[in-house]
């Protein structure tokens, strides 16, 4: 063996002294124990650091079922009628979200033309045409001033005329601020179809579990405390409202509810244990004093006698936002090695001379030792 090669396999090691000092010895072992517990319990067992991980690719589709009914004949633009999902789910299709109308202000058969602006719009009262600038747009108004002042006979003050969809919307709840149109929303059901794929592991799961039969799907409704029904993909909206803890005002003024579907899968176990957990929460502020609730306006356009008309609808209701997410882990030798390796490194750090280093300042130990060091 040449000298160069020999040097390659030479190595250095410190001279050691073996010491029996109870205090430091105990501290030494305790710290080793803590690290061992940390590595074994936290890193390996709790964080499952011996696993490779993957995020789920999720697809969610939903379908609401249920029949609504309004029987107050006097609701303007609505009347006594039945409502199905093509009526109250607006728009019919969204990505990870849907909206269920619970209260409507319908302004039917509007057509483009000229009419009087609402009196409460600022800058709209007038005494003569001079007060109404043609083409002026009041930001929170409903249209563009024509330049005319509409005076009623015998009154000194009138309102400016506007180009707009006439008649204007009467922006107040037809049933008043204490009740809402569709109490049957509680009975509607929601079917969620959620497919997830863990591409790294080639695992595909859906929230309609393989053991579900057609009969199960027809009869079940989600119940988080039931052994089987907690995996039923059909939810009564009343259950969702209850679990999200909403108060009844959400049906009157609208609101936002989050549906969370969580898949937390340990694929070292059978894939049948890889199941969704549902949770529900109100996302907007139920107690907000201003700008609370949720509503939006849309219109259905059509022609009548050759003229463009629209039905304007202001819809109050519940916006559901679905958030499906999942992660999976599976045993793999690489993360295991790395984590045990760094655990050993931590232990090594303590076991050798570092502990002494930190402890030395607090014990008379250094001085005793120094004799043998010289």
């Amino acid at each position: 063996m040449g000298r160069g090669l020999a040097m390659l396999f030479e190595y250095e090691t410190p001279k050691l002294v073996q010491i029996s000092n109870l205090k430091i010895g105990v501290a030494h072992r305790i710290i080793q124990l803590i690290i061992l517990i940390y590595v074994v319990c936290w890193v390996l067992m709790y964080e499952k650091a011996y696993q490779y991980n993957d995020e789920a690719k999720c697809a969610v589709t939903t379908k609401v079922k249920g029949v609504g009914f309004t029987d107050a004949e006097n609701i303007p633009g609505i009347g006594k009628r039945s409502w199905d999902i093509a009526d109250y789910i607006i728009p019919p299709l969204e990505n990870n979200a849907f909206f269920v109308a619970t209260n409507l202000i319908v302004t039917p058969k509007q057509k483009l033309g000229k009419c009087a602006e609402h009196i409460h719009v600022p800058g709209t009262s007038c005494a003569s045409d001079n007060d109404c600038n043609p083409k002026e747009i009041v930001h929170i108004g409903n249209g563009v001033h024509t330049g005319h002042c509409l005076l009623e006979p015998g009154k000194p003050e009138g309102v400016c005329e506007i180009h707009s969809w006439c008649p204007l919307e009467n922006d107040s709840l037809p049933l008043g601020p204490k009740t809402y149109m569709f109490p049957m929303v509680q009975n509607y059901t929601l079917l969620i179809k959620n497919d997830i794929t863990f591409e790294k592991f080639g695992v595909h799961r859906r929230n309609i579990l393989p053991w579900s039969s057609k009969r199960f799907l027809r009869s079940c409704t989600y119940d988080k405390n039931h052994e089987e029904y907690k995996y039923c993909p059909i939810f009564k909206l009343s259950t969702i409202f209850e679990e999200a803890g909403v108060d009844p005002s959400i049906f009157i003024w609208g609101g936002v509810i989050g549906i969370d579907i969580q898949w937390d899968c340990d694929l070292d176990w059978d894939v049948k244990y890889c199941n969704p957990i549902y949770s529900f929460s109100r996302l907007d502020d139920a107690n907000a004093k201003i700008a609370s609730g949720f509503n939006f306006r849309y219109a259905n356009f059509y022609y009548s006698n050759g003229t463009l008309h629209r039905d304007l609808i202001k819809a109050y209701g519940i916006r559901f936002i679905i958030h499906a997410h999942g992660k999976a882990g599976k045993f793999n030798i690489i993360p295991l090695t790395m984590n045990i390796g760094s655990g050993l490194a931590l232990l090594g750090l303590v076991s050798s001379n570092n502990l002494r280093h930190y402890c030395a300042q607090y014990t008379p130990f250094k001085k005793n030792l120094s004799k043998s060091q010289i």
Copy 2:
């Protein structure tokens, strides 16, 4: 130099012995080599730990092109007609998603009124008005009981009358469960415009690459095996179907296809190498025995003779969900230093006394050494 200052620059170092032990020496060098390989190959080269990273901000817009045609005169509510994107893309605009109808059940000219419930709805058969409770809502029914029982002359059993949109929808595929309306969906094309921005690095890229000419855009279609066409932003739907591996039933009953656009950019190279990779997969479970497919209902509302009507459409088709994501890395001295630093630390941990510590128990080495320790 005062004594205090001198102490500041004093330091301690362990006494070392230089040992030539082939076994341990070899183990020592092998472990050092493994760490070196790990640091250089894995950390620096594979994980590019010398780079700062950024996530892309993505914007996706899509446009489908293609003409559909139904020539079976007998399809109720449809007939012989041509279909363009304003007909078969529903709703017209979504965020990172779109829907292409392939099969439709159209129930035209429904109006609000009273008619007989479907006979298969449970609890709807009756012998007299007493069997039909007014205002009762059967959950999977189509409306609200009026309280009347509609009896056909000569038959003992009738059906309850309901408030509903009449005539009721006939929920069966007009062309039967073996075929679908729009075989030409295969020829439709999809233009995806995807802009990404790496804000940290001030880099903006789009999937219509800068070298694309108008002529290229007009003539190209995506082909993952072609040098240039793999960067063509126009996709024949048939290519997508093929790569996602869908079976023909998806066109009959609907389904969900994911379009994945991945940007993995190493900005240490020229930005022209920062290009998208497309992949396609079916997201819902093609083999599901229950609740498979994808469909939803929507309606077009209009007035006819002053009465509200609607065309109810149950649309089966393909829901595309687009997921664009990107990350970029660029050399930066800070992560390089930190990673080389921790690499050196790892090496140091091994080279010094720890190896001996772990090895000691398996070799006669400790005892030999112990003489010099005393």
Copy 3:
């Protein structure tokens, strides 16, 4: 104490020599200082490694206000009329996105039938019926060939007849490529309601801050340089356009603007400091030479004289995509301990023998020392 137990508390420590070497001592202290600075400044202060973190659960709803007006009488299908949000926000409801139309091509009162294909569609010019294959679909055409060639008297060349929605759309901007229909889009306002929840810490915040009064909400508009108005949830679109740095062509040809709402909350401070920061940027490529802008087509369907009609609308405009995200941190003893622990470990690594190891090769120190090692 038995021998076994005694061994448990025995430990080994290397023999040390205390050396006063200015060069190495200084290097030693400098490296210790660097690690200390790194741990204290970077890990603890900048990265706040003493905190537990949580990601926000976000819900965003938006409402646009403003009146549009077109007074050019000659715009086909439009004319002199006023536009409100039910007209120009399409579709009325989206998740984290909305679209504001700024330029429209309206093709009113189309009905299904037969008409001549556009002359510029390739393969559509014909001399006789033989040139037009029945049921042929030209991909970028508007319908399906009927098989007839429509010849004008006295001309040798005609165009193929197609099944389609007739009359065909005239795909050119009615006001020309230099101007757009709704300059008043600048005056529209956008109300964003953004609720966030940090579930781990039980903290709920909304972008309408608790100190906001009704009066504040009615009068304020967002201004990033104003102490109070930078928390106003109402944005003039002109402010957004300005901050996103868009050029006027976005109003003519459309484009995509990103609205970013960032919550970066240190919950060790009062929750009132947990406030949103808004930023705006154009997401698509404003300078793209091809395929720039944003538009889509949709249709309103209705019956006229018992025949299905539609108004086809090609809408150019601005697509807003909202991205709300937040993270919060709060002091917790566990991450603090772990980070100080690993900081100490790093220090220990340097303080002991590793430094010597790296330095040894560059100093004459090893040889001097070797005497005392033997």
